[in-house]
């Protein structure tokens, strides 16, 4: 790092709930090399200037989902965003939008976790099978129907991108609905009808107005907007089927 003394200015939205009334910006001058990520920039500040700077991080390789933040106003994983791409301009990092700020870049994720828990994110077997019977078979077509929606790393960038979630924090939101859809689409699962009540509820899919930014910022190409919108159709179908057939509809 020491060979080239390029210095980038990193502007950080700081908030300490024990001493600040509201968040404020602080600027740090960080020496960097071309391979340094924005996360490493934040680490440099913490290690050398101010140990109280607070942010979540772990794997450094865009799979643990911890290090999301707003980078120049765009939700991104800081570990796979590089300082060189912003230099020589100043770069601004802030806590993920639409979530309450706990401290500095750390937001309150408890609501998101409750939503994940609410969608019954586990296989409720269509046909129970014992271990002695071995694995379920899945054809490539059956596999391809759900695999894309298993890739979500729960980074919540899609929530930071969703104005409807910002306006109504009760909205189940993109990632949780994508996970719900993942289980509904799995040939091993038989509980789509059980999950329908939540899909069609006041917190459900009809909060979405198809802004589509969630899919745009998703670092894993899950396309949560697609899951949400497919479930709008499913919920509408379910609603009308209830009138048409005594067996139709989830309830």
């Amino acid at each position: 790092m020491s060979e080239n003394h390029k210095i980038i200015e990193i502007e950080v939205l700081r908030y300490n709930p024990e001493s600040d009334d509201e968040p404020h910006l602080e600027v740090y001058k960080v020496p960097f090399s071309d391979d340094m990520s924005v996360l490493q920039g934040a680490q440099y500040i913490k290690d050398n200037f101010d140990g109280s700077l607070t942010f979540r991080w772990s794997c450094r390789m865009a799979i643990c989902g911890s290090c999301g933040m707003m980078i120049n106003g765009i939700p991104k994983l800081s570990c796979e965003t590089f300082l060189r791409d912003y230099y020589p301009s100043r770069i601004r990092i802030e806590a993920m939008a639409n979530f309450p700020i706990e401290k500095d870049l750390v937001v309150d994720l408890s609501g998101f976790i409750e939503k994940l828990e609410s969608i019954q994110p586990y296989i409720i077997a269509k046909e129970p099978r014992t271990l002695e019977q071995g694995e379920y078979l899945q054809t490539p077509e059956e596999f391809n129907r759900y695999i894309q929606f298993t890739s979500c790393i729960n980074c919540t960038l899609c929530y930071a991108a969703c104005p409807q979630f910002g306006l109504n924090p009760d909205f189940i939101g993109p990632a949780a609905i994508a996970l719900l859809h993942r289980y509904n689409m799995d040939s091993r699962d038989g509980a789509a009808a059980q999950r329908m009540e939540l899909v069609a509820s006041e917190e459900g899919v009809f909060n979405c107005s198809a802004v589509g930014y969630c899919s745009e910022v998703c670092p894993k190409h899950v396309d949560p907007a697609n899951a949400v919108n497919i479930n709008k159709t499913n919920a509408a179908k379910d609603y009308f089927l209830r009138f048409l057939s005594p067996k139709g509809g989830s309830k």
């Binding site: 001493s19 913490k46 140990g51 772990s58 794997c59 390789m61 865009a62 989902g65 289980y183 091993r188």
Partner: protein
Amino acid sequence: MEIFKADVVIVGGGGAGLRAAIAVAESDPALKIALVSKVYPMRSHTVAAEGGAAGVKKPSDSFDYHFHDTVGGGDWLCEQDVVEYFVEQAPVELTQLEHWGCPWSRTEDGHVNVRAFGGMKIERTWFAADKSGFHILHTLFQTSIKYPSIKRFDEHFCVDLLEEDGRCQGVVVIEMGTGEFSMIEAASVIIATGGAGRVFRESTLGGIVTGDGMALAYRHGVALRDMEFVQYHPTCMPVTGLLFTEACRGEGGFLVNKDGYRYLQDYGLGPLPDKPKNKYMELGPRDRLSQAFFFEQQKGRTIEHPTLGSVVHLDLRHLGEAHLRERLPLIYEMAETFMGLDPAKDPIPVRPGVHYTMGGIKVDGNCAASLPGLYAIGECSSVGIHGANRLGSNSLTELLVFGKVAGVAAAKNARSAAPGNSASLLKQAQAIEQRVMALKTRTGGTERIAGIRKEMAQTMEDGCGIYRMQDTMQATCDKLAELRERFKNISIDDKSSVWNTDWLTAIELDYQLDVAQSMAHSAINRKESRGAHQRLDGYELRDDVAFLKHSEAYYVAGGAPRIVLGDVKITKSQPAARAYGAAGEKADQERKESNV
């Protein structure tokens, strides 16, 4: 202080901890389970495992083959009875995970597919593209939500174990969001905190891999076993250490030096076969491949890169973009994003990096530690299946097999244990709170956390790298003792309560220094070369007479650990020459003939 009464408390919410929690919940729904994790469980480092999980699957494979690969791969330092149990349970647990929804990659006819891995005679690695750990972890986390008896303590940091009447009876934790302490009482405590590789500099590991649970058990008098065996993964991204999975080679990737030569054939892994062959060349075990890199570097045959240092090339070009995108999508993206390379067109510069701690908290086949009521599983433990070198894809299976074993054992213990004395436990917990708070509130320190951490990582790399020498190991032991002293003068900038990561990082560093000492002292004591512990100072050979033994490090307050040697359980595989490539095939043949 808040008090929570559980029957079983699990520290660590990664693959092992989650599997154990489910096992407790399934074995007795009446038991209350507290699952403590310093991150949300799906952030745990299981998430970063790429290649897959080993379990016999093909008709041409057998438990016996898996057993011999594992024991030979571990250079005969494995507990063989435990390995026998492990290989038999492996397919059961992997199938269980399939039933829970894990998206294992499939064959065209819909069955779970398996791929080749280093040191494995037959293809037996179950995989979910190259995100196997990610899918295993998320499947377990999501499945755990089904069980109401599992109460999660997410983003809670464990600072100590409670020990009373010679039994472990709970833990003390800090809620990171508030900085407040809680005591969790439980008759059974399971530690599942993962490895400690962040004591080294260049590693594949996440920032959370700081050996917390190892240090906690160690300070309570439990031995850390075989800590000198630290695995260097041969194919890591230079500087950052990020991992390029062994599956790159399992799928047919080559390692070449600056002349484009597949140098592994010079290190007992050849001759060059026509097509990829198990246990040959790139499909050799990790210790051998990392050691080969070291010698290539000595001979000046590595590529000297201006910013990345000495590297060799991982060449995947001949596999083609379509195959790479399907089987190794994460690797493809990482090469593009982090290195600006297209693996279908460019070779990838790689070098070895610290990846795994074979050793850990000494436990028996039931995952029970010497302290009654305490259990350990996963990378933080040493149940005895990895010996001196772990085979790739055995560790993900380990989480499942032994997560279940520990869960069942801990549940049984919790049902039969006498109730604890809550008042005296609380008194203990309050003393712990005072001690941990003192670290934060004290003023006048001058040592920066990052400074000590950097020096620790550097000295570990210098003294406990791929090859080791008496004098550098001694220098490392001395340096660690010095850092232990200097830690007393640490400065913590942040004095607040809410989300004080400055303080927690200091506590982690304290854990790391203990674990680092156990590694360095175990290493200097082992005067032979075996598996991942290789010396160049007159002890280049394996010495089964003196060192077919486990190293056990015991904590000594304020001093160097006490190292004793423990017996190794041998059932059906007597130590033999550890050979791969054509030599390995010949040795296999001879063993078979002598058994007949």
